[in-house]
Amino acid sequence: MSAAKTTQGTPGAAPGDTSRPAPLLPGRGNRSRTRWELLALLIPGLIGLLLAFILPVLAMFRMSLNEHGTAGALVETISIASYQAVLSDPFYWQVIWNTLVMGFGCALAAVVLSYPLALFLVRTTSKWKGVLIALAIAPLLTSAVARTFGWIAILGDQGMINSVLLALGVVETPLRMNNNMFGSTVALVEILMPYSILAMISGFGRLNPALEEAAGSLGASKFKVFTKVTLPLTLPGIFTGFLLVFVLAISAFVTPRLMGGGRVFILATEIYNEATQTLNWPLASALAMILLVVFGLFILLYQRAVKRIDQG
């Protein structure tokens, strides 16, 4: 009986061996074909990215290696003179520092202000949920320029707040809330909040009312439920919101320019000045490259942080 089985098994295995590569080959072919098809789908996007992002950045990098002649003429060369000029000048270090401080300030404020809103919007069972979310991001319908002028009307020396305070005699001279970092930050936070709300709402996917109830049933007070369950589960959303606002804030130009009244020195405004006023394109390009490196660093940090959260 067992002998019969073996004799039956052996010839059975032989054709199996010869036929084995056959089904595998088309399989492998299929897989690589679909892989190429998927890559082909990316081509239009990649071409767009190449034309609109990679080539300009390369051109900018090339420009940053040129020199600014004494007569203001552009000298085609390969040198790191512009980078040296930036990095050896305390003023530009101050500008980089200002940029980072403003970025952090905006991101922190926007996240703190958006978090309760986003939590509420995610949790509400109201039939108006959709409308409420639309309302929260409705400010995006107005241009940032218009909203910045709105803030000038509120925070300016003759603005709403100062008029009221002066009229009430609370202050003698107008509070300086405009033409400085404070005004720029306040306006930027308000302008960027819709982005952080959106980022958080989409990042709160792991939150689930049953988890908070389970924590409660296991003896966690409301505060403990928040610190042990709600906060850890919403951290990815918080990080995404923070990064998004940070990146948008350090690259913002219109609002710091208008609210800063020429007295807020950050990378975006300095790049603009060098490019359009001084006409020192190599220096402007070097500053832009430095800003790009700052972006890159923070995106790296963000990815590290998110990975850490996912793993523990």
Binding site: R206, N208, A210, L211, E213, A214, A215, G216, S217, L218, G219, A220, S221, K222, K224, V225, K228, V229, P232, L233, I309, G312
Partner: protein, 375 residues
């Protein structure tokens, strides 16, 4: 692990959700003795989850009392009730390991680190998951997640264990294994348990007592055998098991839950029934399909019921109109004279298959008929 045995009593517990007319839970009373496992069984939407959430403290009752060991807990927040709850979705914390999940309740009770570790270990051993302590819930199968949820709820030595459809996300085989496991652990620890399910097999298998819920009220509260053999209402009879109803035309009470019942189909019988039935209107005899005997008309042998010979009960002629084979059991539908159809489940026997169109005789045993009233 041990358990301080608790006694649970619901008194007139009511929940009416805002903007709804009728209450989701309508003034129910329920008494769960120390160490008992009670199943809340009913169709979807009958108010089981609402009841359980009120007991847990996740939902405020509109009225009534939740008394545990003589103390009314209404108003006590969820985290101070000391109950253990297993959610339908398990609700394991995705950002914690299995051990951290199980230890969460002990941590909240501020126990020393060493004790937390030991008790987590013990609880995981109880559900045979000690080897997976450092895994994340996402890396566990459904059955394993279920067991972690159970260990997490039990490790705190809860006064009450509350389970909301804990097995409904598992496949059939695993579900049966988990039934036994939960039941064994519950019996070993002696934890008073309230178990919500819409699955009658689960309730019959696991529960010491079953509370059948229907439209927010408890239709019957009794041990499984009694629910099945002596259903309190038509709803209970149809919801738990299959039931034939034979409408009564005349009912005479004989005291002690016994009645003389006349019906067009069966003539007059002496049967047991729900106490307090006064009129024949809407009263009916419940007869379970598997308690009926059936034979081909003209066959000489007596009809068989569960292997026993019928002791001279009524016999009704009929004609098979449907026959479904399910392996152990053949389910027949038979047209009988008064225009009614009778369901019969007979154990399959070799060389005997009643087919559609066969003329048959159905044998009733009065002891297997039970009278239910209008409700």
């Amino acid at each position: 692990m041990s358990s301080a045995q608790a006694h649970l009593e619901l008194r007139g517990l009511n929940k009416t959700y805002p903007n709804t007319e009728s209450p989701a839970v309508d003034s129910i009373d329920l008494n769960v003795a120390e160490g008992e496992l009670v199943a809340l069984l009913g169709p979807s939407g009958c108010g089981k989850t609402t009841t359980l959430r009120m007991v847990a403290g996740l939902l405020d009752p509109s009225a009534g009392e939740i008394v545990v060991n003589g103390k009314d807990l209404v108003g006590t927040p969820v985290h101070k009730r000391g109950m253990g709850m297993v959610f339908q979705s398990y609700a394991l914390f995705p950002h914690m390991t299995v051990a951290e999940n199980v230890g969460f309740g002990l941590q909240m009770r501020k126990l020393p680190r060493k004790e937390v570790k030991d008790r987590v270990q013990e609880a995981l051993a109880m559900v045979q998951l000690d080897h997976l302590a450092q895994r994340r819930p996402a890396a566990l199968s459904g059955g394993q997640q279920q067991r972690v949820a159970l260990a997490r709820a039990l490790v705190v030595e809860p006064t009450l264990l509350l389970l909301d459809e804990p097995l409904s996300n598992l496949d059939a085989k695993l579900r049966e294994a988990m039934r036994r496991e939960i039941k064994q652990i519950q019996q070993r620890l002696g934890t008073t348990t309230l178990f919500v399910t819409h699955d009658q097999d689960e309730a019959l298998d696991m529960a010491d007592k079953i509370a059948i819920m229907h439209n927010g009220v408890i239709a019957q509260y009794a041990p499984p055998e009694e629910i099945f053999d002596r259903p309190a209402t038509r709803f209970v009879a149809t919801f738990v098991g299959k039931a034939n109803f034979i409408e009564a035309t005349e009912v005479v009470g004989r005291g002690g839950g016994r009645y003389r019942v006349s019906s067009d189909l069966l003539g007059t019988l002496e049967v047991e029934g729900v106490e307090g039935i006064e009129a024949a209107e809407d009263a009916a005899l419940v007869v379970r399909p598997h308690r009926l005997g059936v034979r081909r008309r003209g066959e000489s042998s007596a009809p068989q019921i569960g292997g026993e010979i019928v002791p001279g009960g009524p016999v009704v002629p009929g004609r098979v109109v449907d026959s479904a084979y399910t392996g152990n059991v053949r389910s027949l539908v038979v047209d009988v004279p008064d225009g009614q159809q009778i369901m019969i489940d007979e154990l399959t026997v070799r060389d005997r298959a009643l087919a559609i169109g066969d003329e048959v005789e159905i044998a009733f045993d009065p002891d297997d008929a039970f009278l239910v009233g209008s409700r």
